[in-house]
Symmetry: C5
Subunit: 355 residues, 5 copies
């Protein structure tokens, strides 16, 4: 194997640092940083955007339920200030800005910390976004690298007071946030299913398109989706079963429903994984089959004409004494013999079903 | 890979909506909507068909056991009205009309909610139908997209008072309903087994039929069957083991028997899955074997005649001085030499078992 | 895929019937029906054959241990009468005559119900026989489709008072019956091992035998054996661990020993399954290797002679002015050149190790 | 498939016999039978060899710890006499002489019964030896088919009072015996690793050696090793966790250490299994790659010369009127054209990277 | 298979020895032996290097937390002396110098014993280093074969009093040591990912590079990484869950975080393993596809010209009476016919999409 590694940069910039050190490991350092606050109770609802993290602190004191949505993980200082105000654990702070952190849930005495991955297709390219959620008495704080449209519907629902969010506490707010993410998983999965069907169509209809690269790429997409999506199942299950006091009894039904959806996501991914494996197998069968057909054509033609050409070669020789050459009808007799051989050959191949 | 995606419609129409929103996600919107009610006790039995959901409410009050069979999930309003009357949870209502909902069981305080999939072959095409069952004190309500013949036998059995249904409560009614669905699974599985045997026959008997597409399609059918059928096992097991008060002790024997049947279904599907994998493998072996035979014919013929043709070519050259051409018997000597070479070649291939 | 399904009959005749309905689902309807009773205590032993089921009832009353062996499942009425006399559950009765019932164990208050499969080779064909065993205070009743020789040894042992059966109760009688069946499994497995070794021998010794069909058939046999044999392990384990009062403490040692044997059976089947997979893989390797060799012969011969033939063709052309043709030794010079080319080719192929 | 089964003998001679019947199922019936007794305490140690089993009985009475090593399982009577003296269970006695018995542990009230397999390579052939160990108060009795060198080191250690055995009880003696067997497993595994590396070397260095048979044989060896070695892990774990009174607390550390080693053995076997699978896969890739190269040579040569030969054939025709033949330089012009075609072909193949 | 085993040395030198015997099983016997001691409290920190083990004993008495880092496992006597001073179990001592010991954790009354593997790439070669850690009241002792740079950062952090180590006890010191090792795992994994991407690039871009050897080598690297890395997950989990008194409550959060990282490592290894499998599969597809293309070129050229050459051969025969030869335009007519055949052939192949 020839060396051809282009110099690659270290990806995990936080290796070897002091545990609890906040290092943003993503690449979106040019984003605008802002904090969107949606503060609501049954009766009223306000939505404000701030750029300074200190303006947000006051929401911790009041009675309403507050969704604080922080956009831009590169502003480590601001996030650290928020975390210190809320007294979150340093390891939590580290994970909020570590985009390599896998989905997980950590339970602390007075707050829950959830890491999720948002996935979507951006012009055929699968994108994974790091999402952290912190839920405590009266608040859910979400952290994301940049604005996505996953929560757009939800935002409107809260403002227009559709659904039950306005009348519920932060445990239900956490649920609807996670529910929005999981609903987005289905979009990715439908897209994936379409791609597989396209490949199948190509395999059956067109000729000689090399789809092995596409299959490999789909496999890699499925591996990435699995890694983002499968842990979600266990996380939701743990929220539903937890004895954490802020999760109220009647909200558990909703988490159970969400759990159901995560199972469905997992099932679909597994099914598509098996289908991709079958596709590759079928592709191999198709290639072999085609080669077989090519070989048959070559064999039929070559095998039929090579002996005839030899015979013609015999009578093209220049020996002085070749008595066969001199009979008046010998040429025609030979042509007849060749025809018989030719037809016999064809019948032989017909019998072998090669024709 | 060339883009050839035909525009596809979004399949899951309920993504992003408020949890508990009822959205019919299937495609059977032109069906007639009607409710069939079979109301029975040990002594009597009535069967009535209604189109207005309000006519059905009165059955909730009386003492008999009632099977309310709702046909047509597109009539979301009627189903919602029924659900409100019976006070079922909004998430249950959502799942009744969500045909993507996977099989599951949810236990509530005074009712059980079961989602099952009916599967059958409709002219060689595998069809999956969404079926929801709600069992409470004195009633079982079933919801399906359109009329199927899965429950025909059962309906007759109740009316003719065959079997034990008329003398039992709603827990036994739920059992016979699920039993009818599971019995139908076996029909699908027998059909699947026949298809696999057909493919095997083709593989061994006929020549050169490309069955890789059929194999792929069977694999996809098996994946779909698995998804519908495998959860049934766990669901029945949970009903048998539940401490839900409406399931009486002596009925558990029947659920245990049904559980046994679901295990059998799962086993068969697994066996057929393995057989399909073997079929594909064998198909590959068959192709390779055939190509081998084609190659041998080509090689034997080409390898035998090519050197002979070369020799003939030699004596077809027009050099002035080629002494061999002038002997009286040289032509015959050469023909003899060629014959010897020819026979030696044949013996060589005979020894190699290529002939 | 061309349709070529021969019309197939429905196999499971009991689908859709009332739960507890006895329907014989096998095909041995022409067997003689008879009941063999072996009644024994430590001191005495009698063996009698009856055709009428009512003659057997009296054995239920007396003190001895009785083995009632019913042959012929098609006589549903007789079996039903026996079941009613012993008060077995209707679902048990259904399973006794349902040859599709998988191996299982059901514990009732005063009897155990065990379904097992006997397997044996009948002239190279693998046969599965349905066997039901009911064990209660003082009796074991066995039901089989037709007489097999699995219990012949055991019958003699009881009559000749060899071993401990005569001194033990029905729990030990059940053990020796199951032990006889499991011992038979080993015969099947030895047969299977022989078949695999035969295939291996063919693969390594003979040339060009297409064994893919044999491999597929062996795989299918293994799938059938698995289905019959694997559940036995769990069943025996449950008997050993049960708190069913009729299983005495000192008999558990024997069930533990039997459990050990079922594990061994399972292990062998797994090993043979892996070996069959390897065989198929090796077969593919062998085919590819052979084709490689065929190709090399073709390539060496064709590649050596085709250029030479071209040269001969050049000097067979009839141009008026071809100076090379007229030198006195040019023919010999050309022959020399051709020889050099020929030898160079051979050396080239030698270096490539194709010769 | 042609029948070519050489008549094979029944291997399991104990099938169908009365449970508890002692039947030696191995083939080493010509061995000398003898019993080696090593009797020791902290202060003294004696080693004696007996041929009569009755001479051994007296060791049961005295205070020392005794290792009784019985060689030769074919002497069923002697072993039975020993078993009766020690009051071991008949099923234990059966398993001592049943070489097909898989590794296992049975706990009885006052003794432990362990079956292990010793494995080693005897001139490249993998040999499995049946080993039974019975440990009770003051004794360990081992049974093996014939003398092996597995315990030689241990014997010396006891006599020379190295290590802790002399100062410990029978629980530690059992440990050092099992430890010696497990240490031997590592030798087999190192041997296996060497074989795999050899195959790899062949695959990468030499040309055209068919190693599929070697791969198959290695796979079969691994299957046999797995069957002997994997159960050891669970057995040691159970000894360590047992509440059997004779296993003292401080000895458990040693069993834990041994357990660690069995895990390591299992891990190595799994790793080698995966490597063998990869080897076969790579072998297939290698074959395909080679065939590709063969095909390319054929194609380049044939494709280049076949059109040229055709052209030469044209001008070898004998038509009266072929004007091209008569120009003075036409022959040289044609030769030039052919050269151009030839070079164009080579450039084409160069571009395709076939040259 | 030809024997070509180069004589290989026994690798595990400690087989068959007395349990608890210390035998260094590695190969680094020429290293310098030294002990580095970092002794610290919140206020102060000293770092000293010793060559005599006795100089280290005094650290056991004082109050500070001490990290004793022993380099060079070949100095078995020194290590034994240290072990005796600290009263560690002989089996622990054996494992410290046994480089074959797999990762594990053993809990003793007053100390924890952890075995880990450090892995890193040394000029493209994957290196595994044996690391033992002993943690007790006030100390952590680490043993490694030779100096690595895994702990360099950590050493500096302690001396410069960055992070929390200086203010914590030995439980946190153990954590930061293990954390440093696990962080190093990620470096290996990134390297592995780069290698896979390189292979992918080669597969898609360049032609005809045989990468099967590279794939095999990557597979073997992954197997080795798995063996070193996977047990780490379980070990960290056990430290977090242990009730060992020295692990304080607030430190468990850190072990939980570390556990999270080990899961991530495991996930990546699994993903890369699947990708390698897919690569091999794709490589096979690529080869088959290429061969198909080669065959098509051969078939098109050969099949087109072979019949034409035959026709030319006919008219090159020397029969006296071949009327076709004498017509004035027959040569041109024949050339025309040949052209038609030629074009027909091309159209045929065009239709088959072989051109
Ligand atoms: Mg860190
Ligand atoms: Mg990521
Ligand atoms: Mg992290
Ligand atoms: Mg991740
Ligand atoms: Mg939802
Ligand atoms: Mg739902
Ligand atoms: Mg929703
Ligand atoms: Mg569906
Ligand atoms: Mg839903
Ligand atoms: Mg579904
Ligand atoms: Mg049923
Ligand atoms: Mg499932
Ligand atoms: Mg049943
Ligand atoms: Mg039924
Ligand atoms: Mg059957
Ligand atoms: Mg049944
Ligand atoms: Mg069955
Ligand atoms: Mg037995
Ligand atoms: Mg036994
Ligand atoms: Mg027996
Ligand atoms: Mg054996
Ligand atoms: Mg046995
Ligand atoms: Mg065994
Ligand atoms: Mg050891
Ligand atoms: Mg150890
Ligand atoms: Mg040792
Ligand atoms: Mg190592
Ligand atoms: Mg060790
Ligand atoms: Mg290791
Ligand atoms: Mg860390
Ligand atoms: Mg973390």
């Amino acid at each position: 194997m020839k060396k051809k590694t282009r110099p690659r940069k270290r990806r995990r910039k936080n290796l070897g640092s002091v545990p609890g050190t906040m290092t943003y490991t993503g690449s979106k350092t040019e984003q605008e940083f802002y904090i969107e606050v949606i503060d609501f109770s049954k009766e009223q609802c306000s939505r404000t955007v701030y750029n300074d993290v200190k303006d947000v602190f006051r929401y911790a004191e009041e009675e309403n339920t507050t969704w604080i949505n922080v956009n831009g993980l590169h502003n480590v200082e601001a996030i650290e200030a928020l975390g210190k105000y809320y007294k979150w654990h340093p390891l939590v702070m580290e994970d909020i800005v570590d985009t390599f952190q896998r989905p997980k849930i950590d339970e602390f005495e007075d707050y829950l910390f959830v890491v999720f991955k948002m996935i979507y297709y951006d012009e055929e390219r699968l994108v994974t976004e790091h999402l952290s959620l912190l839920m405590g008495q009266g608040y859910v704080v979400t952290f994301q690298e940049s604005k996505t449209d996953v929560f757009d519907d939800l935002r409107k629902r809260i403002e227009e007071n559709r659904g039950r969010v306005r009348g519920e506490k932060s445990d239900y707010l956490l649920f609807v946030l996670l529910d929005a993410v999981v609903d987005h998983y289905f979009l990715v999965i439908e897209n994936l299913g379409d791609k597989i069907e396209d490949l199948e169509d190509i395999l059956f209809e067109e000729n000689d398109v090399d789809i092995s690269k596409d299959i490999l790429n789909l496999k890699k997409e499925i591996l990435r989706i699995k890694r983002s999506v499968f842990p979600a199942r266990e996380i939701i299950n743990r929220i539903e079963k937890t004895d954490f006091s802020l999760i109220e009894e009647h909200t558990r039904n909703y988490y159970r429903d969400l759990y159901d959806h995560t199972i469905q996501v997992v099932e679909y991914v597994e099914v598509y994984r098996e289908m991709i494996l079958s596709l590759m197998e079928m592709y191999m069968g198709t290639i072999s089959n085609k080669m077989n057909n090519v070989m048959k054509v070559l064999t039929v033609i070559a095998t039929t004409f090579i002996p005839l050409t030899f015979i013609a070669g015999i009578y093209g020789m220049n020996f002085d004494n070749m008595p066969e050459l001199h009979g008046k009808y010998n040429y025609f007799v030979l042509m007849g013999i060749m025809l018989v051989i030719f037809i016999a050959m064809l019948l032989f191949f017909k019998k072998k079903k090669w024709l």
